[in-house]
């Protein structure tokens, strides 16, 4: 642990402080953490759901709206058919009970594999400011389902569209006692502009992100 102590001591010495932090310094840090002070941010522009929709489209995601959860399979089937995609998907357990067979989609609830072409997930919440999905990993919400397949379909409750990342953290703290292993913010299909600065969709992650909004 000598590297650790050397680095920490060096920092303190160079800033003209005693070798180890005083109670006052630690208290100041704790106090700051407790305030969770927010900094200035851009004005909320429009109603969150509208803003989310607009921003999501600008990130090359696509959006659909359904009136009830029961309509999700039909909406998914429609999307897959229109885009000439396979009628087969892997999904999070929460969506396994929907009547997929009735819409002609073969859906399995399990961990995603590399050869799965369509992944259906929910989202922890969605962020209006940027049109972003917030995903939180867990036993029932595995991260790979939104990553490995070429098409990611996310089912998002309209009630969980929040203004900004600040509200998303507030929600996370309220609902998760500890920070989940992975928190992923997804803003459209994966992309790269490494070759000649030309944007190409579908780098390592999905080529398509389709968002279905439910009540």
């Amino acid at each position: 642990m000598s590297a650790r102590n050397n680095i920490l001591r060096r920092i303190r010495a160079l800033q003209g402080k005693p070798p180890s932090p005083t109670a006052g310094e630690r208290e100041a840090v704790r106090a700051y953490l407790q305030t969770r002070a927010r900094s200035p941010r851009p004005a909320a522009d429009g109603e969150p759901a509208t803003r989310f929709h607009e921003r999501a489209l600008s990130l090359a995601s696509t959006c659909d709206d359904v009136a009830a959860a029961a309509h999700i399979p039909a909406a998914v089937a429609d999307y897959l058919r229109k885009n000439d995609l396979p009628m087969r998907a892997v999904c999070w357990p929460a969506w396994a009970a929907l009547d997929w067979a009735g819409s002609g989609v073969a859906v399995e609830a399990r961990g995603a594999r590399s050869d799965d072409l369509v992944g259906i997930t929910g989202a922890f919440c969605a962020i209006a400011e940027t049109g972003t999905l917030m995903m939180v990993s867990g036993a029932a919400t595995p991260a790979a389902a939104s990553l490995l397949p070429e098409t990611h379909i996310a089912i998002v409750s309209r009630a969980r569209i929040v203004r900004g990342m600040e509200e998303a953290w507030q929600l996370l703290r309220a609902e998760h006692a500890v920070m989940p292993r992975a928190v992923n913010f997804i803003s459209g299909p994966s992309r790269t502009a490494d070759i000649e600065q030309t944007v190409s969709l579908g780098a390592h992650g999905p080529y398509r992100v389709h968002i279905i909004l439910v009540p």
Partner: protein, 477 residues
């Protein structure tokens, strides 16, 4: 990474003459520079956000050790192991030891400039570990055995044709020419590596004290693969990257992608905290975080501490007229452009990078665009002073300045000398009023012409105008 910054002048000359590079650099300007300008318009209170971002970074640096301890405590509580390295060699040793401990045969990497500082790939390969870069740009560079030339767009110096040739040669597949096809081919080559790697190595754009999380911003999704699929995840980053809270990092995230690639947000912002939980279907079983110093503390408590606010967005180089003309390789180490001209001499030694603090017109474009308000030209000026104090300036420069100083303290002589000089230059300029070949200034006039002076010094013109003024006034009276 081996430092070659001492060859800046020679390299810069070659880069100026490189037609392909010049075309690539022009694209960078039009995309990233325009992208930033457009994206900051989305923030109605941009300057307030920018000031808050600088204050957040300053707050972290002011109590750096306490925030780092807080980070360590929270990360450890979630099952991560935090390591500390004073030097890049130490960091490499830790990663190699981890590779041995977990019986790692293959490691996949997402882009990490800190690992470039360390030359980590070489160390791992020497230890018998296969390393695969998975960021498309870094992957291309690995195949070509080249160094990155930009911290955000590492392969900006290469054309699509060069990538086509390289892929054809290395992948042994039919040549592709379209950019989407090239990307698809790389995706298909790299996917099996993600699935078979034992270790994922990432950097961290930020580490968050409140939660003990590391955060990376990516567009390709390789960062997510690297931190999700292999059973061991190693994150390697600098001690200065700590940020107190999730709210603080949110503010920085409003600026980083806008200034980096001209995006409102990157495709992915990924926070990883601790190891795979009970019942989790994915995530690493082992998570190690390496915090490295490697020169950073040299800035702490100094008049240059502000440099540690840097969030590595690349805006300073995108907007720098010198970078725009010579590209990143000329700078000779990991970090190019204005931020590199400050970090390289400090991390790698002032004497190894004499030209870098001088590779700037001090036009302050970088200072104007820096999202965390680092006064980059001031810092370069400070480094120049340090070079001078330590006697590191070459003798012709010292002698020239001494001579100029001597003359400048003798106004009559100075006026006479400058009158002669100006007339000589005007004569050299001829009818076109352009000097193609400046004696003793070949480096300057090699790439462009010097507009010749009009034949009179400022003081002469001033005196002349005053005289005319006086005559006019007497006539009016």
């Amino acid at each position: 990474m081996q430092i070659t910054s001492m060859h800046f002048k020679a390299r810069a000359g070659k880069k100026l003459a490189d037609v392909k590079l010049q075309a690539a650099l022009r694209k960078l300007q039009s995309n990233f520079v325009k992208g930033r300008a457009d994206r900051i318009l989305e923030l109605d209170n941009f300057e307030d956000i920018r000031a808050a971002a600088a204050a957040i970074r300053d707050r972290a640096l002011a109590s750096l050790d306490v925030w780092l301890e807080e980070f360590e405590r929270n990360a450890t509580a979630r099952g991560a192991v935090v390591h500390w390295a004073e030097t890049t060699e130490e960091a490499n040793r830790i990663v190699c030891e981890l590779a041995a401990k977990y019986d790692v045969r293959k490691a996949v990497k997402s882009k990490s400039m800190v690992s470039e500082e360390c030359a980590l790939n070489d160390a791992l390969e020497a230890a018998g570990v296969e390393v695969v870069e998975t960021d498309l740009g870094e992957y291309i560079l690995q195949l070509a055995h080249e160094a990155p030339s930009h911290i955000v767009a590492p392969v900006v110096h290469k054309s699509r044709d060069e990538v086509s040739d390289l892929f054809e040669e290395k992948h042994k597949l039919p040549r592709k020419t379209g950019i989407p096809d090239l990307c698809r081919e790389a995706r298909e080559m790299l996917r099996p590596h993600f699935l078979s790697a034992d270790m994922g190595i990432s950097g961290a754009n930020f580490i968050i004290a409140e939660t003990g999380s590391t955060l990376i911003v990516t567009n390709e999704g390789n960062g997510r693969m690297v931190t999700t699929l292999p059973r061991v995840h190693v994150a390697i980053t600098g001690i200065e990257k700590v940020v107190p809270t999730l709210e603080d990092v949110t503010t920085l995230l409003r600026l980083l992608p806008r200034h980096g690639t001209g995006q409102s947000i990157t495709n992915y912002v990924s926070l990883t905290t601790g190891v795979k939980g009970d019942g989790d279907l994915d995530g690493p079983q082992h998570f190690h975080i390496i915090l490295i110093d490697a020169g950073r503390t040299k800035l702490i408590g100094s008049d240059m501490q502000a440099m540690l606010r840097c969030i590595r967005c690349g805006a300073c180089m995108n907007h720098c007229p010198v970078y725009q003309n010579v590209g990143g390789h000329a700078y000779g180490w990991v970090y190019p452009g204005p931020m590199g001209s400050i970090l390289t001499p400090i991390y790698a030694g002032l004497e190894n990078a004499l030209d870098l603090p001088n590779a700037s017109t001090l036009c302050n474009q970088c200072g104007v665009v820096c999202p965390v308000k680092i006064p980059l030209p001031d810092l370069m000026r400070k480094l120049r002073e340090k070079q001078f104090e330590r006697g590191l300036k070459p003798w012709p420069e010292r002698f020239g300045l001494a001579l100029w100083g001597w003359a400048a303290r003798r106004p009559v002589l100075y006026a006479a000398l400058s009158m002669m000089g100006v007339r000589l230059l005007a004569w050299m300029g001829g009818a076109a009023k352009l000097i193609h070949n400046l004696p003793f200034g070949g480096g300057w006039s090699g790439g462009r012409d010097l507009p010749a002076p009009q034949g009179k010094t400022f003081r002469e013109l001033y005196r002349q105008h005053k005289r005319i003024d006086r005559i006019n006034r007497t006539q009016q009276d």
